[in-house]
């Protein structure tokens, strides 16, 4: 596989230190679009008929509809009350308009099994601590693997790669058993610390450092008498920013969406993240006769996905350029 396949992010951010005048959003978009158009061979050259273009666009349109149907459904139904969610047509609005009432329920402990806004805070806390921690550790370790060789460094790196292959399930239950023994059940750190260990992140950072931080630059800095810490923060880190952002994005998403670990290690609802809380509500709404929870599951689901979709749209260039292999195994 060519190097560019696994490259975390492409050239556009080649000036991470911000030395030059920052390019405006619009300019950057235009430049990217032009670059993209240049790299594409004009369709006419393939000898395609117009009908083919129309047909393929139609197929893409169909798949886009398939992708958007659940999102459209959850947006529309977040405005309905409980009866209308079930009794009216799923893809159109109905009176009364209950969006704000539903939304206000997210701030209340309706059935005594927890408050949505608290879960939201928990998820944000776990995702920020775990995601930032994972990214920082990956940057240190990836830089270390890429630019230092010490006794056993090769072996350690292979061990890290091997850890990529250990399935989440096979790791989560052992973690739970260990916590039960070490009295770490319901502990914040029980959730955050394992999230910081990201073999994928280390692998990606190492690859990225290899590509983007020249050895000569580090050697030159050493000759100038800069300390190792200073070299890392002042010389290497600015060059690593695009890779850093990609790993950050992947790590935050991984913690935000994690379900199995928190499901096992938390048994009081004030500690739950959103995923566990929404799962619990779904179960209680259906099986414990708490049907008033259904509108809350719907609007809660909507509020859960909005921050991440916005994050992805803002940070598009970091996954567009070359999202990475490896974070799929969960």
């Amino acid at each position: 596989m060519s190097v560019s396949t696994v490259r975390p992010a492409p050239a556009p951010a080649a000036d991470p230190a911000g030395v030059a005048e920052p390019e405006s959003r619009r300019e950057r978009r235009r430049r990217q679009r032009l670059e993209e158009q240049e790299s594409i061979i004009p369709v006419e050259l393939y000898g395609l008929r117009r009908g083919t273009v129309t047909l393929v666009t139609a197929l893409a349109f169909v798949f886009a509809i398939f992708t958007l149907v659940p999102i459209a459904w959850i947006v529309i139904n977040s405005t309905k009350n409980q009866a209308n969610i079930f009794e009216t047509f799923g893809f159109w609005f109905a009176r009364p308009f209950s969006f704000f009432h539903n939304f206000s329920l997210l701030f209340q402990n309706v059935d005594g099994y927890g408050t949505y806004i608290q879960w939201f805070g928990n998820t944000a806390l776990y995702a920020v601590l775990g995601g930032v921690g994972a990214t920082a550790l990956s940057a240190f370790a990836g830089y270390g693997f890429a630019r230092f060789s010490f006794r056993g460094s090769k072996m350690l790196f292979y061990l890290t790669i091997a850890a990529l292959l250990v399935p989440i399930t096979a790791l989560t239950l052992p973690l739970y058993l260990t916590y039960a023994k070490a009295h770490l059940i319901n502990s914040l750190w029980g959730m955050v610390l394992p999230s910081m260990i990201s073999p994928v992140g280390i692998y990606l950072m190492r690859v990225y450092v290899d590509i983007s931080v020249p050895r000569e630059l580090i050697d030159a800095a050493r000759l100038d008498g800069a300390g190792e810490a200073r070299i890392f923060f002042r010389v290497a880190l600015p060059l690593m920013v695009p890779g850093f952002m990609t790993v950050l994005l992947i790590s935050v998403v991984a913690v935000w969406n994690n379900y199995f670990l928190p499901l096992l290690i938390f048994n009081i609802n004030t500690r739950y993240p959103l995923t566990v809380g929404l799962g619990l509500w779904s179960e209680r709404a259906q099986n414990s006769g708490n049907a008033q929870l259904f509108p809350m599951v719907v609007i809660g689901g909507l509020v859960t996905i909005i921050p991440l979709i916005v994050l992805f749209l803002i940070l598009q260039r970091y996954w567009r350029g070359g999202m990475l292999l490896g974070s799929i195994a969960n």
């Binding site: 596989m1 798949f63 398939f66 052992p174 995923t275």
Partner: protein, 279 residues
């Protein structure tokens, strides 16, 4: 470096070791915890519930992964060639489900497919498939497959798209000058060049498929009994540990599942190294 190694040790190696240790013991109501050697392993390996879950995820993987990769590759080619209009917009839309937690994805689809009220059921009725029940034993697995395809196709597509972008342009131009038809350029030139990326995706998706958990669990909340407690190996392990409170037995199950996946991973790594696909 050091904090990572300490974390690595504490949160990966120690728990794994402890799980193996736990799996070798049995807790009895009378007599406490005693060393029982391999008995938890023989019990798991002889349990038909564990095996039916294993067989089910294998069937699931054999359908879900090829379908998803074919769709992802098709659209990756389309966007790479620039054949469709609004390619950038479509790419962004296709990627959105990656940002949706599996729990929320499964909840949304559960509402859509719900037997009594779900809009998809009405749609199926309107098209003449009356009495369709997406949560029935015959349709529950296809339903799960649709949900997972919805969640992951965009991500696979982005990776294949990136791989296709690295195909040298002059090779394709030369083929065009030779009047090679488009489908042949794709099958004969592009497909072989992105084969390593496809193999990698098949492998990662397989590991994910063997651990199938969230989607069936959420569906079982919406329709009790649609998904049995031992539907997949991970559900079996989860229910053995939590609901049945047999942690020793569950630990054995986790070790077995872990080993199976590590064996598959290693085999595929060795296979690829022999073919010279790994640097």
């Amino acid at each position: 470096m050091v904090p990572f190694l300490v974390g690595f040790l504490l949160f990966m190696i120690v728990p794994l070791g402890y799980a193996v240790y736990t799996s070798l013991y049995t807790t009895r109501i009378i007599g406490g915890t005693v060393f029982s050697g391999a008995s938890n392993y023989t019990q798991t390996l002889q349990s038909s519930e564990f095996w039916s879950g294993v067989v089910r995820v294998i069937i699931y993987a054999c359908i879900q992964i090829p379908v998803m990769i074919v769709i992802a590759f098709f659209f990756a080619c389309v966007f790479d060639l620039g054949v469709a209009k609004f390619g950038r917009t479509f790419r962004t839309i296709f990627f959105i489900p990656f940002a949706v937690p599996a729990v929320v994805g499964a909840v949304m689809w559960s509402f859509l497919l719900e037997p009594q009220f779900g809009p998809m059921v009405h749609l199926a009725n309107a098209f003449g498939f009356s009495g369709t029940n997406f949560f029935s034993p015959s349709l529950i697995l296809p339903s799960i497959i649709v949900i997972v395809i919805w969640e992951w196709t965009g991500y696979n597509m982005v990776i294949l798209y990136t791989a296709l972008k690295s195909v040298p342009r002059d090779v394709v131009e030369a083929a065009i000058l030779d009047d090679t038809p488009l489908w042949r350029i794709i099958v004969r030139i592009k497909l072989p060049l992105v084969r390593p990326a496809i193999v990698m995706l098949v492998f990662l998706n397989t590991i994910g498929a063997l651990q199938l958990f969230t989607e069936p669990l959420i569906l079982s909340y919406f329709e009790t009994g649609s998904v049995s407690v031992n539907y997949t190996p991970t559900l079996y392990i989860y229910n053995t540990a939590i609901a049945a409170d047999q942690t020793n037995l569950a630990a054995a199950g986790a070790v077995i599942l872990g080993l199976v996946i590590v064996v598959i991973s290693t085999a595929s790594l060795l296979f690829r190294r022999r073919r010279g696909e790994l640097a």
